[in-house]
Symmetry: C2
């Protein structure tokens, strides 16, 4: 199977005939202007052994790669449109592995309304490395940004927090304090995040700022504060937790420290957003109608920086605690 056969068999079907992709026969795509809309563009890269486990099934790796980028689009309230893929393949990965990766792309691009417009495949003596450039549309000026939070706004987060990070430990077989079923559920959350695209209209209508939770809730809420020129205070006892995460917290000696860990783990791909207090009811109601629970977890403050409280009292945040269970 040479490069052109590989493109024809694995990648051309992923264009689903989109004229922009020029059948992948050119080295570029041509995207017509769409008056009244902004093109929202995000780009993320992943490396085997760093962002996913070397023995993770490649269809799941591909789906996660699409989803982490879609999560960025979700935070901007953009509608998925297209993607470009670059993969550096280790020589040990043959056609079967590449086919499995492409099958994962096919499955999720269909589910999320994306088409492949182009990219590049190269070989590497190193680990499998892939980068995706994902594009979405937002009505002109309608993309929600990180920098729109105002002092006094309420901070909210979708879904549950900490499952992705616990799931990584579970996938490594290194998570204690939960049941076997809970560990399996958490590992699935890690391997296959759910980008919150259904919050698009809700965020556009009611949120002042938004980001996705990829680096960890504390870090990403902090980014919203920094981009907005404000501070953020989070109430750890308000964190929405899954049943599995609650089990894990219950097994830890110090619940406050455990919550701080969950708020520091990455890979949740939930949405942290802010809203004027008067808009919070409309925001949460609209989200609930879209099938997503939003929990109020803190406030935007005049004092810069990130602060946390537990049972009403300040909690010291250890920067070094952010990326490890």
């Amino acid at each position: 199977v040479d490069e052109f056969d590989e493109i024809a068999r694995l990648y051309r079907p992923l264009t689903r005939g989109a004229p922009e992709a020029l059948d992948l026969l050119d080295d570029a795509a041509v995207i017509p202007s769409r008056p009244g809309y902004d093109l929202v563009v995000t780009k993320d890269a992943i490396v085997a052994g760093v962002h996913f486990l070397p023995d993770d099934p490649l269809d799941l790796v591909a789906r996660k790669l699409l989803r982490v980028n879609l999560s960025d689009l979700a935070a901007k309230a953009a509608e998925p449109y297209a993607y470009f893929l670059a993969v550096a393949w280790p020589t040990a990965c043959g056609f079967a592995e590449r086919e499995r990766f492409a099958k994962g792309l096919a499955q999720d691009q269909q589910a999320f309304g994306l088409r492949l417009f182009g990219g590049d495949t190269v070989s590497t003596p190193g680990p499998l490395t892939a980068s995706l450039t994902v594009m979405g549309w937002a009505p002109s000026g309608g993309a929600v940004r990180r920098g729109g939070a105002k002092v006094g706004d309420v901070v909210l987060v979708s879904g549950t927090i900490g499952d992705g990070g616990l799931g990584l430990k579970a996938a490594q077989g290194a998570l204690e304090g939960v049941t076997h079923d809970e560990a399996a559920w958490l590992a699935d959350r890690y391997r296959l995040p759910q980008p919150r695209l259904q919050l698009r209209q809700t965020l556009r209508d009611h949120a002042s700022a938004a980001a996705d939770v990829s680096d960890g809730l504390l870090a990403d809420a902090g980014h919203v504060g920094t981009a907005s020129g404000a501070g953020i205070t989070l109430d750890l006892d308000s964190l929405p937790l899954s049943a599995a995460a609650r089990t894990w917290v219950g097994a830890q000696p110090d619940p406050c420290a455990a919550l701080l860990v969950l708020a520091s783990l990455g890979d949740d791909y939930e949405i942290v957003c802010t809203a004027r207090p008067s808009a919070v009811d409309a925001l949460t109601t609209s989200a609930a109608t879209a099938g997503v629970r939003l929990a109020a977890i803190g406030r935007v403050t005049a004092a810069h920086g990130l602060a946390a409280r537990y049972a009403g009292a300040p909690v010291a945040i250890q920067r070094t605690g952010w990326s490890h269970v």
Copy 2:
């Protein structure tokens, strides 16, 4: 230097204040629609030890990465606009290396009219790997494609052919048959290709199809034929050669075989294009006015596939000869 310092010090200056980049504080860029224009998008990846030499200076590596992507824009007759960068850094690369890479980007993005809109930096246990997504504008419907060649069209190529591939050998200290100065000149051609962006208007006005010569002239001319549903016949004795390449050919036992090698090497980043016979004079005159020499080197044929001739006689093309001197 943490990730946010690194973004602030190395990457934010590369946005040159473009509002689309949102100061790199968001995980996405927002590109307003530009009615009357198509957005042309290309994405290429490079790996240390595969696409560049592991000890190549990182500012030159960055500049080459920009230029190989700009070469794709040049072939589409698009005007450079913006780029997104993903880099997987080996842990051995510290701030000084990253700064040198960013300096190379700064130098060339200024020269070519690009701004950085976003991207991702991650770490890797493997070799330095980078991918660029580059965007340009073309008037609606004005992007030149690979698939527009018609039977009877003349095939032309810009500049000189084979220097990039000979330059790779020279950079490795493995090129014989040329002078020391010629070897140094060829190595420069390999390290720092010149994207032919000045041909933009010329191609748009007069060419029926175009591609850049990255995989090798035979391969890329073949792509034009395939995309156009036609064949291509090239006259090896018409290949435009640099003085250094002529020296090298003169040192080979078989000039026809030597020309075939030059037409098979990659990394030239010239433009191969086609034009109706009646448009060739206008095409070459317009190109000359833009400072680029175009040489007629063959014809588009009804018979599919790629053929070569030397002194009027057919030459067998060995697929296996395409990527090695």
